[in-house]
């Protein structure tokens, strides 16, 4: 039987790690030094969260895999992150669109996960939610600044959001894993996060003077390991050193 708690902790860790790695690609390339610092620090928080979730997943699995093992020695088909986080950074507008949508969702998720009956998930979420609230604020400020800025920034913000709308539905999908854990009071029902998410997104878009969210046909599959082409390329960069020197230690 599938270890649903392992899978759930793995998903939480994979979301954070993949986005943390993506954001790290901005380091040294962001439009200004302030933005460079922000994106790098958000990435750092996400990698820290991933360490905690993946460490717990490894303990639950009980096969001797620690956070590093799960991060660096898993092939793309075994990754369970949502598709939104693996999308290439694109321009700054697209990166901010992704950050805004993801952090707004993650904030709603961690607020509830902090009340989980699983003490470890609850304490990680309670710790992480304080950081995520800051990420969500930062991203919302930029959505407003770009949306309400110049014609160019507004166009790019709209394009960035348009790129990501198709990945929104996946965030609220339920399956056998979430169903089983929701029944035990361990997991948060993903569908229950939707009203909070939609209200916040609508409020920020309105303040930014941007068009309302319009969700096209959703693309899903990340939770089952059906990823876009982009993830494999990202993992190749992220994993190649530990795979080349698998026995290396600090």
């Amino acid at each position: 039987m599938e270890n649903v708690l392992f899978t759930y902790a793995l998903r939480l860790g994979d979301d954070s790690l993949v986005l943390g790695q993506r954001l790290s690609e901005w380091c040294g390339h962001a439009p200004t030094i302030e933005v460079d610092l922000s994106l790098a620090n958000v990435a750092l928080d996400l990698v820290g969260q991933a360490q905690l979730f993946l460490g717990y997943a490894g303990e639950v699995e009980g096969k001797g895999r620690d956070a590093d093992r799960l991060a660096f020695h898993r092939d793309v088909l075994a990754w369970t992150n949502c598709l939104m986080v693996e999308q290439p950074n694109g321009d700054f507008g697209r990166t901010i669109a992704r950050q805004f949508l993801f952090s707004t969702w993650q904030k709603a998720l961690f607020d509830k996960l902090a009340l989980s009956k699983d003490a470890r998930l609850a304490e990680i979420a309670a710790k992480a939610v304080k950081e995520v609230a800051y990420h969500a604020d930062l991203a919302a400020e930029w959505v407003i600044r770009l949306g309400d800025g110049t014609e160019e920034s507004r166009t790019r913000m709209i394009d960035g959001l348009d790129w990501h709308w198709r990945f929104v539905d996946e965030l609220f999908q339920t399956d056998a894993v979430t169903d089983a854990l929701v029944a035990e009071g361990v997991a948060v029902d993903p569908a229950s996060l939707r009203p909070v998410f939609e209200a916040r997104v609508a409020a920020v878009l309105a303040e930014a003077g941007l068009p309302e969210m319009k969700l096209p046909r959703p693309i899903v599959g990340g939770r089952k390991g059906h990823h876009s082409e982009h993830l494999g390329h990202m993992l190749a960069v992220m994993q190649h050193i530990p795979r080349t020197y698998p026995e290396a230690v600090w």
Binding site: G20, I33, E34, L37, S38, A40, N41, V42, L44, D45, L46, V47, G48, Q49, Q51, L52, A119, A122, E123, I124, A126, K127, A128, K130, E131, Y134, L138, E141
Partner: protein, 155 residues
């Protein structure tokens, strides 16, 4: 059996690796010292989940305890309750200010109020960057004396 106060005195001498003006006790990273059972245990908590100083802090605590002849004292990391800037001691806040970092107020977890310039004391300040040189700080500038300064984020 090690005395809790003696252990705490050792910990109070360990500087934070990123902000050496304050100790781990000042920052509220040391949560407690438990001497009710053998071995005595030091409870520490990370500030931010991804803070690169966390591993170094463990090491620094270990070295300080060993140097004080307290090799038998154990170190435990606790995530819960999550670290908050409300745990920074009054003494710690003063040391941060003297070091040029605007400390977080003890009373609020909100970042919305204006910072106070640690150099000239002016409240006419503005945020330059939401993040600074470490995850726990933001970059601000004083409108009166024009000096840029770090502000410890409320958390």
């Amino acid at each position: 059996m090690n005395d809790a106060r003696a252990i705490m005195a050792v910990l109070a001498s360990v500087p934070d690796p990123e902000i050496p003006a304050v100790s781990l006790v000042d920052l509220g990273i040391v949560r407690d010292v438990l001497t009710d059972a053998e071995p005595a245990r030091v409870l520490i908590t990370p500030t931010y989940t991804g803070c690169p100083a966390t591993a170094y802090i463990q090491l620094a605590v270990r070295e300080a305890l060993d140097a004080a002849g307290m090799q038998d004292v154990a170190i435990e990391t606790r995530l819960s309750p999550p670290w908050t800037t409300a745990w920074i001691t009054e003494d710690g806040r003063e040391k941060l200010r003297a070091y040029g970092i605007d400390p977080p107020p003890a009373s609020t977890a909100l970042n919305s109020h204006p910072a106070t310039c640690p150099r000239c004391g002016s409240k006419q300040t503005h945020e330059v960057s939401r993040f600074g040189s470490t995850p726990c700080k933001a970059l601000w500038q004083c409108d009166s004396c024009r000096e840029p300064f770090d502000r410890f984020k409320c958390h």
